[in-house]
């Protein structure tokens, strides 16, 4: 009974709060061009920073609602691999639980699967990158879910630190991944074949690669590894980047910098700009994409309150403190 009453109260507070927090308008049903601006694959360089560049402090009703959050009533959060540390930090911040309890609470399905999980009613809040186009189409993502930009990330290219090439143009990158450029000599490096590694089709970084870099240019077939499992099944993996001397791969900035750092690896500049927190936040680096907080159009109040909070100064500071690039300017 008490829980029911609190839910009614929470819902009422959430209704009062609607429109208070900085948020994007839900996209219209016209076309996928109505997605959040920075997810527009056709004009990545022209992506605009959301209007709310100065975050507001947490409205007190949001705080009141957030104060009711415990580990027990915490919404089911899902999302991309790269947002796992954010999800863990968020649970700790809002519930006061231990790091171990926070980790135990996180069960992520990765980017596209998490959209399906929300669609199937298995999660309440996503901290997630943009899904692949087939997922957008099948789930009608931008018309069935409320997607709000909460942070910025970027598509980055990685090579072995021994590689003498430090910068590529976007045209050169497209040439490498379409198979037209096959030797590092052609882009100013040593006379050695280029080994380009790709990512699986339904991965966040592959979606960024297709949308931000390739822009309709067909990618060459990826190399794969076949793994024997049970009697009848095999797993075919897209070969993972192995940081060999002549390799090139791509990932998202946060993941490559904070979650899967490897020795002897370096980022390369694209079109003369090296990816960094600063060049991503300022969008000087040209391949920036947002990541999102996603709730259903009729969300549970706590999930919406959490998403609202993430777009406050405190919420954005949490992102920054955990190595993410906030969508808003905090200075």
């Amino acid at each position: 009974m008490g829980r029911f009453a609190s839910l009614i109260l929470a819902f009422a507070v959430a209704l009062c709060l609607s429109g208070c927090a900085a948020r994007k308008e839900k996209p219209s049903a016209a076309s996928t061009d109505d997605r959040p601006e920075s997810a527009d694959s056709s004009k990545p360089e022209e992506t605009k920073v959301p209007a709310a560049t100065t975050p507001a402090a947490s409205p007190s009703p949001v705080k009141d609602l957030l104060s009711t959050i415990t580990l027990e009533n915490y919404p089911v959060v899902d999302g991309s691999t790269a947002t796992i540390p954010l999800a863990i930090a968020l649970i700790q911040k809002l519930t006061g639980c231990t790091p171990a309890q926070a980790e135990e609470s996180v069960a992520f399905n990765t980017t596209d699967a998490s959209y399906y999980a929300m669609h199937d009613g298995k999660s309440d809040l996503l901290l997630v990158y943009e899904p692949a186009q087939p997922t957008i189409d099948e789930l009608d993502v931008f018309h069935t879910m409320d997607c709000r930009e909460i942070g910025l990330d970027a598509l980055v290219f990685i090579v072995n630190e021994a590689n003498s090439v430090n910068s590529l143009t976007s045209e050169q990158v497209r040439g490498i991944y379409s198979g037209k450029i096959t030797n590092w000599y052609e882009v100013g490096g040593a006379d050695t074949p280029i080994v380009p590694f790709q990512r699986p089709e339904l991965s966040g970084s592959q979606t960024l690669m297709l949308n931000l870099m390739m822009k309709g240019t067909a990618m060459m077939a990826p190399s794969t590894e076949t793994i024997a499992t049970t009697m009848a099944d095999t797993i075919t993996d897209i070969s993972a980047y192995n940081n060999s001397a002549n390799a090139i791969g791509y990932s998202v900035y946060y993941y490559a910098r904070n979650m899967y750092t490897q020795p002897g690896l370096k980022f390369i500049a694209v079109d003369g700009v090296l990816p960094s927190n600063e060049t991503i936040n300022s969008r000087e680096y040209g391949f920036v994409n947002a990541f999102y907080g996603v709730i259903l159009l009729e969300p549970d109040p706590l999930s919406e309150a959490i998403l609202d909070w993430l777009l406050t100064k405190d919420g954005q500071q949490l992102l920054k403190d955990n190595g993410y690039v906030p969508v808003m300017k905090l200075d």
């Binding site: 171990a100 996180v106 993972a240 980047y241």
Partner: protein
Amino acid sequence: MDARGKDDEEQTMNTGSRRPVLILMITTACMLLLISACSGKNPSGSVPAAGTAGTEITGTITFAATPAASPSPANEQSPSPSPSPEPAPISIPVPTPASVFIPRETFPDGRLFEENYYAVLPGEGAYYNLYDSYGKQRCTFLFTDGQSTPPTGLFKDTSHFADSRVNMSEVQTVVPEDPDGYYNVLKYNSNGYYQINGNNNVVTLYNTAGKYIRTLTYMPDDDQGYVDAVVACYGRETVVSFTTDTWHPDQTSTASAAIYFVSSDGTINDKCEVRKLPGKPAGLLGRKYFLAGAYDGGEECYDIYDFKGNAVRKNVSFKSDASFSIWSSEAVTYIHIMDYYMKDGQIYDASFHDVAKNQTEKGGKLIYGIDYDVDGITCSAKYWSRGSDPNNHYYTEADNLVAVGTTDNKIAVKMKDAEFVFDSSGLSYYSINNHVLVLSDNHGNYPVLSLATGKLLYTIDGFDQLQTADEYLLVIKGYYDTVTGTFPKCYVIDKDGNIRYKTQNSSVEIMPGENILLHRGPYVGIADLNGEWIIKALNWELTRDQDYKNPWEENSG
């Protein structure tokens, strides 16, 4: 005081003689208390505070405080048991005892875990990363055997991991590696580096510094026969084994083998070779004889052959898990290196002499199946303290043998370097590690005694798994529910009886030292006994983007 850990010199000097024996007299009242604690739950369901002189009762683990018995040598007169007053239980309103956070002792040189171990954790895709004890990533390697358990944890020997490239840049190979990765691929074990060329049956050995030390070549009986070459560590010696089977027109087969024992400077200490055995070699006895043959029925199904191929003993057996084995994938080679065999219930050595009661190997190591006298109690060496060897399915060598004997009210335990006698009140042996002895009342209660003090630390009132690591116990109650994703309850209990970490939402596996392998949320890694990460990575499911392909569906399509 730790009754184990005497230095080797003393062990050698005392071989064959009585070692200091520790008698720990636990009083009758203590045992009554123990049994009462085992059988009864606190009606209130509450528990006393940890560390208080009371009886802690939980739904899972029962702590029964016990007056400490003073340890005394076995050859001293034991004090008469005297009843002790049962301490009054102290209750606190907590359903389970709180775990105790005790900061981990850090290594002074900054290393993360014990020297000579490597941590292997998932990398991206089908790659796994290997880190040294300072946490520095040393290599990444492919692991594409989907039918085996992925290699995750702390390992000493990384040679089992295909394509692992630890320290490889330090080795100047004398034969080139096949770029396709089939022949002469440089591999590593704790004795050094090696290359195997299956084309011409050549093994090239290097020492731990990467310096070339020897080449070994084997000529099979049949030019067409496949030769299986295996390299393994046998202490400081490197064992190189060549075996081959030859099928004959009458549908019989013969096997040949050559096993070399090579020291670190390349010297061949022993060469054991035999031709045309009637069956695959199953054992090498005392470096003098091969065991082969596998008859239907009965345990004593092997014959002993000399190096000329003559059968010198028939119908013998051996304890397979009491001996080191060299093996290759799918058991093409599976040969036990042994010094003893059994026939008609008697143990014999490689000179075919009976092994006498109380006889030990050099260094005091017990011999499987032999009886030992401890304070007048006959103890049979048929148990092992398996310890924390993390190599689970790579496990090839039995750890310390444990001899156990009981009388109506005492239990005696003998290991390589220590002996203990406890009052047992009919309790039986369950397991032992460096710090505690776990007993069983055969009714689901497991009293845990400190080897150092003889104190009853606590009683475990049932479990689904009890894993006795070298330094701690891992108690698991329940099973992973694949439908709900619910984990069993795990308790990590340190040597002093403190619950250092408990969880019902993560999974724990034992590791060497005061380390655990922890799967928690999106991470897997090495953690200390408090569950604090030492080194972690994203778990396998998050880093491997997989695309399942069912060949039957493809075929039908």
